[in-house]
């Protein structure tokens, strides 16, 4: 009995002392750009013996508390950090604090922050090849851009979950990371504005605006061109450029034919103004929507920072267009302006006044929400969604018809797949590489950074689709904005101005240019690549120079 009691006593003593030691280790893991890395595998080791496992959270932090049933040699503690596409490192824990908790147990507390370095893996090359491949496929119009993007995104995930299952170095991006990479604020904003425009189109308002422009010009063709430029720019600031041109261009062509002038003298100023106008607001052009969402810039931020310079650019380009088309404007002759006016009035009247009233009310409501969304800490897509729901409700428009014919689902899927592809390039370190290279090029010089971002964006957008280009540049500009002193939001404006205005450089620079060329060709006036370059190229360069000066002087 005595022996049993002694044994029990020893057991109790051992049990009491077996939880007498705790180890607490925490820290933050970041990449070379100071961005926290999530899902880094953290292993706490004593020598080669694993004591604990954890992973970093979305803010790069980790914390592990482990009860140890044996003595710890604090000089032999390590933290191993491991994540695909980064170098695995075993880091010695130094400066360990030994303390006692309230129960008198010993607590070892260690902190290890670390900056992980990238390593080139097969995943890096896969994401790089796919990103560049998508750019090429879209630029050369081999496939529809949605098909190209879908192929790219599905390949990345397929490789990750096949080859990547057997060899981690082939794992590019997880499904969760892919979904996380999609900016649904952009998707819902685009979808909702498509619905609003789709309903508004039925009223005939756009064509009526073109007729009204002619009425205001009183037969003066140069005046007509100026009015059309501003009408197009304002429409494009709120509605998509392609729809604006599809609706306004036919009327302009018709007016030009009746005036016996070359429609280019009206079409080219219009389409250039369309791309300029789209730059002025958050919702005017998809690159701005992407930039606004990524950088948390509000509708008012865009209006305050970009609308003034766009207005200046428009005014200057009025004179540029006069230089090119002045003679053509003088040729325009109408023997009876009033007769032509009556004809246009009859042809381009408002077809549904009631629907127009509802549409304008909803548009006004949506713009009011856009103006206040920053104060309300509300994503702009919520404003647009509210407007879309309201316009469908009060207009009685056929939801099936709107969803089928007005919402460009292919475009929305393109955006989603593109976000995944760029997300993969971020995960594997390719985008970081570009960001570092750009930073090295510009040093800490804000001036060089503005010039570089703006002009590269402009020339790239003149040649390739500005949407994938902008998507790729978002993390790059984010890094530059964080690391260059006093950058503020200036580099975001540089990206916006470059990416949007660059579309005026060539015939293929923007979708609005392409559809205008299609309409012009049907009328018998094909716009050649060379002709567009002759007019659009200088207009683009002048616009970007004005923008650059605007930003450099602190506009």
């Amino acid at each position: 009995m005595k022996k049993v009691l002694v044994l029990l006593g020893i057991l109790m003593f051992l049990t009491a002392t077996s939880y007498a030691t705790s180890l607490r280790v925490g820290g933050v893991i970041k990449n070379e750009h100071g961005v926290p890395i999530d899902e880094v595998e953290i292993t706490i080791l004593q020598g080669d013996k694993v004591l604990a496992h954890t992973a970093t959270t979305s803010n790069g932090s980790y914390f592990v508390e482990q009860h140890i049933d044996h003595a710890i040699d604090s000089k032999d503690l390590f933290v191993e950090v491991n994540k695909n596409t980064y170098k695995t490192e075993k880091l010695k824990l130094t400066d360990i604090l030994e303390s006692k908790d309230a129960d008198g147990d010993i607590v070892y507390i260690g902190t290890k922050n670390y900056t992980m370095l990238r390593t080139i893996t097969p995943a890096f090359w896969i994401s790089l090849i796919i990103l560049i491949g998508i750019f090429v496929l879209i630029s050369f119009e081999v496939f529809h851009r949605t098909v190209a993007a879908l192929i790219g995104a599905s390949l990345l995930l397929f490789v990750s979950y096949t080859l990547g299952t057997f060899d981690e170095s082939y794992f590019v991006i997880s499904f969760e990371e892919a979904i996380h990479a999609i900016d649904f604020n952009v998707i819902f904003l685009l979808m909702s504005m498509m619905i609003i425009v789709g309903v508004m189109k039925k009223t005939g308002i756009f064509q009526w605006l073109a007729y009204k422009s002619y009425a205001m010009s009183k037969g003066n063709v140069f005046k007509l061109s100026v009015i059309l430029m501003f009408v197009t720019a304002i429409a494009s600031a709120f509605l998509d450029n392609v729809t604006t041109m599809l609706l306004l261009a036919p009327v302009s062509i018709e007016i030009a034919i009746m005036l016996r002038i070359n429609p280019f003298s009206l079409l080219l100023p219009e389409v250039l103004a369309s791309n300029m106008g789209g730059t002025a607001t958050l919702i005017g052009d998809p690159p701005n929507i992407m930039i606004g969402s990524f950088a948390h810039l509000t509708f008012n931020d865009f209006v305050i920072n970009l609308t003034p310079v766009i207005f200046i650019i428009l005014v200057v380009n009025v004179f540029v267009m006069k230089f090119y088309f002045g003679k053509e404007y003088k040729k325009g002759k109408v023997d009876n302006v009033n007769e032509l006016l009556e004809k246009l009035k009859e042809e381009y009247k408002i077809t549904d006044a009631k629907l127009l009233k509802y549409s304008l009310f909803v548009l006004g409501f949506v713009i009011l929400l856009f103006i206040t969304h920053g104060m309300l800490h509300m994503e702009p897509s919520i404003a647009a969604m509210a407007g879309a729901a309201l316009i469908l409700l009060i207009s009685g428009a056929d939801i099936s018809e709107i969803m089928e014919k007005e919402v460009e689902w292919a475009t929305l899927v393109f955006f989603m797949m593109l976000f995944i592809i760029v997300g993969a390039a971020v995960e594997t370190g390719f985008i970081s590489m570009i960001a570092t290279w750009v930073k090295d090029l510009s040093g800490n010089s804000m001036v060089l950074a503005i010039i570089f971002v703006m002009w590269v964006s402009a020339f790239a957008s003149a040649i390739v689709d500005n949407i994938p280009f902008t998507a790729t540049m978002l993390p790059v500009v984010a890094y530059l904005s964080q690391t260059i002193p006093h950058a503020g939001n200036t580099l975001w404006w540089a990206l916006s101005l470059g990416a949007c205005l660059g579309g005026n450089g060539t015939l293929i620079g923007a979708s609005a240019n392409v559809v205008t060329a299609g309409l012009a060709e049907r009328a018998g006036y094909p716009i050649t690549f060379g002709y567009f370059l002759k007019v659009g190229g200088p207009a683009m360069i002048i616009s970007v120079i004005i923008s650059m000066v605007w930003l450099l002087i602190g506009g």
Binding site: L137, I138, E141, V142, F143, H144, R145, T146, A148, K201, Q207, V242, L246, L247, A249, P250, V251, I253, E254, I257, M258, R260, N262, P263, E347, K405, E408, A410, T411, F414, D465, L507, I508, A510, S511, A512, N513, V514, V515, A517, G518, L519, E521, R522, A523, G524, Y525, P526, I527, T528, F529, G530
Partner: protein, 151 residues
């Protein structure tokens, strides 16, 4: 005395279109014909700029193109009047892909002369806007007695 079935001009508003009209009037005079059919195809099958994506078929785009058609046809009719010609015109507006509709038309109608004004377009423009009739002239000639290309 009339010596022809149909003389058809594919209309364009540009200078080449105007030359096409004048050529048509000459042909009508030679053949002693008094009727000219003015043909336009409402073809929205051009690139939307979305990377090999075409503009969606929709009423608004078609209405726009029909407005353009009306303007071009009126211009041609006015020009005929200005030339002092007493030729009577007939408007033919087709909907669909340009070349398909023209071939279908000449198959279904007896056309003596088909006048086609042809713009100068480079490879990029042809690729983007489509509707290039050049490769189909031979096929058209199998259905039409005479195809006249005006450049």
């Amino acid at each position: 005395m009339e010596n022809c079935n149909k003389v058809v001009l594919v209309v364009k508003a540009s200078e080449v279109g105007e030359r096409g009209l004048l050529r048509s009037l000459d042909i009508l005079k030679q053949k002693n014909c008094k009727n000219l059919s003015l043909l336009f195809v409402v073809d929205h099958d051009f690139f939307s700029g979305a990377g090999a994506g075409y503009v969606k078929a929709n009423k608004t785009v078609d209405e726009g193109l029909e407005g353009i058609a009306d303007a071009i046809l009126r211009k041609m009719e006015d020009m005929i009047e200005e030339q002092g010609s007493d030729v009577a015109t007939e408007r033919i507006i087709l909907h669909g892909k340009t070349i398909e509709e023209i071939i279908k038309f000449v198959k279904e109608n007896v056309v003596d002369v088909l006048i086609i004004p042809k713009d100068k377009r480079g490879p990029i423009e042809k690729f983007i806007t489509g509707g290039d009739i050049g490769p189909f002239i031979e096929e058209l000639e199998s259905y039409v007695k005479e195809v006249v290309v005006v450049e």
